[in-house]
Amino acid sequence: METQIVKQNQYLEQPKERISGSEAVVRCLLAEGVDVLYGYPGGAIMPVYDELYKYQDKIHHVLTRHEQGATHAAQGYARISGKVGVAIATSGPGATNLITGIADAQIDSTPMVCITGQVASHLLGTDAFQETDIIGISTPVTKWNCQVTKASEIPEVMAKAFYIAQSGRPGPVLVDITKDAQFEEFDFQYKKCKNIRSYIPIPNTKKSSVEAAANLINNAKKPMIIWGQGVILGGAEEEFKAVIEKAGIPSAWTIMGASALPTAHYLNIGMVGMHGNYAPNVLTNQCDILIAIGMRFDDRVTGDLNRYAKQAKIIHFEIDTAEVDKNVKTDVAVLGDAKESLKELLPLLKTNKHTKWHQKFKDLYAIEFEEVIQKDLNPTKEGLSMGEVLKEINKQTKGEAAIVSDVGQHQMIACRYAEFKNTRSNITSGGLGTMGFALPAAIGAKMAAPDREVVAIIGDGGYQMTIQELGTIFQSKVPVKIVVLNNEFLGMVRQWQQLFFEKRYASTEMTNPDFITIAKGYHIEATRVTKREELADAVSNMIASKDAYFLEVCVEKENNVFPMVPSGASVSEVKLR
């Protein structure tokens, strides 16, 4: 860390030096402490790549196989480390290929800076080769974006980009730089951005709101917490744990909040939402106080809003003012950074246990265990279940692994059954539901945390959306562990077709290639498991491998994920089968 800061300081507020815009871009990245970036070269960004070549001993550029892969890798890097992920691409198709990852980072509040090349400024608006209005295209999915047409603008815009991406509620920023600005020379000097007059990253926490929240919590008989990623983004895990332990409040998580509190913690009552746990879904509609911390009442969490926690008073701890009262009307809104506001809340809370209320969660868990969990984790059917694969991975990684999941049935199973001991361990595409996220995101995660075991859990559908990133794993020697749970279906869509479209399986059956041959083609060791008795050894070999490893598990074709809150239903109408 200290050496990192010394390195950064070499590039901060130095005397002015005459360099090109493209060299300035690289110097800005170094000044911001960027050690790795993901991207794909092309015409309009070539001057910057030329500088990356010259600076290759100081900054590591990872060539992905598609620009979308670069964004997801940058996201994985950011999600596991809390640092800004950086992706770089050329103009036109290079830039448009970034959009899915940018939209994903926007909805999941991931700090990311994307740099795109642009045609020379005299060609802007002429439909030049590989010209696209990436500022116009990216506006609705970026926290901020900016086009640079003069080299002299680069330091200030880059400084703003990094400041905006990681301050307040984080998000993606795109900086588009014309090719002539990259070539142009100017007197470079870099100063970090510390504030922007029109931007308040963290609203002030009103003492009265914290007191009002404490008062409601202290008088509650049946309080329940739902926490989200805000706890992780705010680095508030310890403060959060102290609050729930003191007040004895059963606490459930959204998919983005998973791993902020260890899975085994006695107050962790599981996941809320469409495929969340039975108890927190049912009891959302019985609690007297619902405390939301750093979450945004997404529709997959709330089900029918007209029948959501109507009996409860709602307290919302939130950094983004625009999220308050957006979906659920709050009684007390505590604005500000979760770490600070929870710290203020703690001394105002009375010690409590709520034993009787907590027992209700345990009773409902027992029902879910009998109806769902037992069948998922210890199946008696011949076919392998996704749940038992997760159980084996938990066992062999001792809950220390970071789990990177894609989107679909396997994602719900991974989030439900992964046993996390450490924060920032659940990396998944929550809000956007981007199939193809996991494989490249795992690359970024492993590079940001080389000492951690990173296991990507992917369905056979999503895997084939970014399967080309096996090339990145091979070329850059990234030792990620890849588990494909293959049911030869787009399983979640098939589940809905079974339940709501009378089993008309429209375009959900997959005729898959030989995944083992493909992995081996990239010189990645690969194993296929089709029988239960092979599973433990296969997982063991995978975890033991020092290199990247591919494990395909052929699972039961038509298993469904339960519990389930059907769309349009209330959370308390959660179905167990």
């Binding site: 506006t139 609705p140 007059r197 029109s198 931007y199 308040i200 003012t321 625009a322 308050v324 009262d325």
Partner: protein, 174 residues
């Protein structure tokens, strides 16, 4: 909630592309913009968009929060019809070849409009007022033969004192 006319005022930095960012926030929620005006504001280097929409107050309240959240937006506010003084300007190019002069002059006078240009074949009439006012004149001039008609977006000022500079200053935004 019932739809009503609401004036949204947005104070922003004067940057390229910001208007697009602002309008996408309306578009995203399928809200049509009835009129839009961009101009300088009372604060130096701060621009002001005045946007008229017909929507429920509840939805506009959420949109205003999203607008306020944008990095380069200095401040955003909304006001209902009875909270604002507002005007629009309309120009009418009227074919005068078959005009009965006295009748025409009477219409102009009764409507508090004025003639801003007289040519051989047409006159240009200007009228400032509410949409209803300019519509009324439109209907009266139409029989003469309207060659062109244009109406500006709404410009509005709040009835309450609302010192914007002070409010933004207190929010530490400026």
């Amino acid at each position: 909630m019932k739809k009503q006319l609401i004036t949204v005022s947005i104070y922003t930095e004067n940057f390229i592309g910001l208007l697009n960012r602002v309008t996408t926030i309306f578009t995203k929620r399928h809200v049509n913009i009835e009129s839009i005006t961009a101009s300088k504001s009372e604060i130096e280097n701060v621009h002001r968009y005045t946007i008229l929409v017909e929507e429920s107050e509840n939805l506009i309240e959420k949109i205003v929060k999203q607008l306020e959240k944008q990095i380069d937006v200095v401040g955003a506010f909304y006001h209902l019809e009875d909270q604002t003084i507002f005007q629009e300007i309309a120009l009418y190019k009227v074919d005068i070849e078959n005009v009965c002069e006295s009748k025409f002059k009477e219409i102009i006078s009764v409507n508090h409009a004025q003639i801003v240009e007289i040519e051989k074949k047409f006159v240009v009439v200007e009228k400032t007022g509410t949409k209803a006012d300019t519509d009324a004149l439109y209907n009266e001039l139409k029989p003469f033969g309207l060659m062109q008609f244009v109406r500006s977006g709404r410009v509005a000022i709040t009835k309450q004192s609302m010192n914007i500079s002070e409010i933004l200053h207190n929010n530490k935004k400026i």
